[in-house]
Symmetry: C3
Subunit: 323 residues, 3 copies
């Protein structure tokens, strides 16, 4: 399936989930549905035609307990471009500082007739707790190092747009697997759709335990490079690390940065992806980030389409309003 084959009309899909908490819980069929709808909204945006106001009358609250620019903005634009209202909740200015629990904060927001809460929290499972206790939809926008499902969906949509498929491709996630919710969500989604997944990075950041899931673990980017269709270069999340897991940034870059030399040894049609924000010179050099293999900005564009799809599926389709 490619976006070009999709009809220009809103796809007829079935979807029963009110919440999107992670990709681990989704079936291959559900992931395909989410990608199909995402591709539709990506085509709408690319065509310049305004999308139908599918979220008119609905309110989406951004409930971010960790700072974010791109994810929050992406959800916000997605909801508003579909005609929804967006309520931005700034955790630092919030009642939490007055001793309120996260669940009371969420219930209060929900009580203002809010239809969906987009939640980012440093604690794994925080969105799940809310989902169990709210009538509103809960969309996980990142729960600590656990899951970040819309990020993985936009990564997969980008692969699908450029390769026409995901099944059978070899996708390497390179870098800080240990702290990366993006990695976890990608692993579940890619495996479900039949990709071969390689986790690559320093031993301190990549555990052999992942092999039990059916992924390959490698400590040498140079070794796996020629086999990869896609390289997804994760950020070194300095802000999540207590002790530095490698001797120096320079050594990390020496072993794992995607640079011109490595690109020459990669497949000629390799896709270079990164969830961003990128550290130029650390996980990727400037020429590769800006080069013809890079689809980093396409990922950002797709992010809005994916969030449109997820909000529409969870708020409308799951409620029987298929548009």
């Amino acid at each position: 399936m490619t976006t070009a084959q999709l009809p220009p009309t809103l796809p007829q899909v079935s979807w029963s989930r009110r919440h999107l908490l992670g990709l681990e819980e989704l079936s291959a069929e559900e992931i395909r549905t989410a990608l199909q709808c995402s591709a539709y909204f990506a085509r709408c945006s690319a065509s310049g035609e305004p999308p139908r106001p599918l979220l008119a009358g609905k309110t989406v609250a951004n409930l971010f307990f960790e700072d974010s620019t791109r994810t929050r903005s992406s959800f916000s634009l997605a909801a508003r471009r579909l005609g929804g209202e967006v309520l931005d909740f700034h955790a630092s200015a919030s009642s939490l500082s007055k001793g309120e629990t996260i669940l009371d904060t969420a219930r209060t927001i929900e009580a203002m007739n809010v239809d969906a809460l987009v939640v980012r929290h440093r604690t794994p499972g925080a969105p799940h707790l809310l989902a169990q206790n709210l009538q509103a939809s809960v969309i996980n926008a990142g729960d600590g190092p656990h899951e970040h499902p819309t990020q993985a969906l936009l990564d997969m949509l980008t692969i699908q747009q450029h390769r026409g498929r995901i099944e059978g491709l070899t996708v390497a996630l390179v870098g800080d697997i240990a702290h990366s919710r993006t990695a976890r969500s990608n692993i579940w989604g890619l495996l479900r759709l039949g990709a071969h997944v390689i986790l690559c990075g320093p031993a301190t950041l990549v555990s052999r335990r992942w092999e039990a899931l059916g992924v390959e673990v490698s400590y040498s980017l140079d070794e796996i490079l020629p086999r990869c269709d896609v390289l997804n270069l994760l950020r070194i999340q300095f802000e999540r690390q207590q002790a530095r897991p490698f001797p120096s940034v320079r050594e990390y870059a020496h072993l794992y940065a995607m640079n011109r030399q490595r690109l020459q040894r990669a497949r000629p049609d390799v896709l270079i992806m990164a969830p961003g924000p990128i550290n130029r010179g650390v996980e990727i050099t400037a020429d590769v980030a800006d080069g013809s293999h890079s689809v980093i900005l396409r990922q950002v564009t797709n992010g809005v389409a994916v969030r449109m799809a997820v909000l529409w599926l969870c708020l409308c389709v799951a409620a029987g309003e298929s548009g």
Copy 2:
């Protein structure tokens, strides 16, 4: 009057005030009008039908000099759901840090063709100062410990929805009366509509001087409990207190927290209210907050309806645009 008896059409009301600064200045008739309109908007929201864009072409600025999540969000949603534009002004990022006076800040915002300023400020009377000097409507969203009129209106709307009336009911405001603008606004509004009001709390937080207004003052929750139709449990506002006005939180909770034991000695139809954010285990225990007598989340829902009503009355009806 109950909401069920209201017609589904926008009520025909008369209202002449451009500003809502407090309930002390309102007549019983004006308060009834505000509640009648609030009940209408509450019905609209509950029905799921989009309300008419009564504020289309109007701009409402949130001018909060104190942090707030729920009140700011509630006003914001109220204005936007009626088709208005909302301008969010963050005091910390503002020109105030460059030496500008509050009045110059407000006049500057007004000069951008802003129709209403929703103002929260720690100084009692700050919204009144602005109202005297602006053409725009000024809505008091809390001025220090003085007034918080929309909070009291939403409390009264909630009582009315559940009891069908306010006249003749016994309503206790429990806790930190001294620092509470919610208490002050409730006192004016409830007395005007003929309720019996009891102020209950430690002597350091409840002054006998209130008796001159016609309210009852009590230092024992257990004593008044069997007589109350409504208990409105105010937050202990630790952030407003210089010296701690009681020996310990534990002693406060022992004497004044609403818990299961006290609930059993209350009237079987007692309403448990709290302006939030609640301190679970301080003024209210978790089981009571989440129990069948609690209407705390209904208060939040009603808050949006009350703010729709107040904005419509002050911006449209007072200007001769009755919809």
Copy 3:
């Protein structure tokens, strides 16, 4: 040309610039076009009629790396009143703290199908760097002490509304010329339209080098006062100064503040302007700021109209969508 002579219909203009980076680069004809459109939008707002949704389907991102209330709000209202979506980017909460470059941040925002970036940055030339690397329109909302073109346009629109012309008028910019982007943009714009420009202030804040451009430099407000049609009183930007450039605020006010005594020696139709936020008692006394010669709040009102015009010109007219 005055606003009264403008037709009530959207003017037919030609405009080819996607970006507005400064007034230095604009021709007299371009400045006149921008002012003509601004006057049109000012008339729309004054008439109370909602403007046509010329920016429907377009997204404007505010990318402010320096705090701002009025300029950000003004752009935000301008875009939304024309039907555009606004994305507010808070630099402090952004990916910049994660090591992202400003260009990567801007490209990421652009990739979300954003049509214009309104940029404020402390580094002169930062918006120009972005303009060279983005497809989206870049509007300079202040780059350090360099340019602030929409501020100068709103100043000129205000003069034109009150005097009917700019050519031949004597306009004094008083105060902190050295640190003022408002001064620089005004100089370019006013000279281009044929005004006589006087820069007036302490020698530490006004350089004789400006004379090479064809402006007059004076260190005595009292000396130039009787000749001026317009006095634009710049803020002393204490926050931009390392060493204090004059002995005391009191001495500055003694020599350069516009007060009642000076007003009596000024031309009877002198216009008193200030970009704000004003320091009452420093560059202007309260009675003059609030007096009949002051057009300070009109400047704020015109600011929204100018930003509507600039967004429409750069996003629509330059792209061949003339409305």
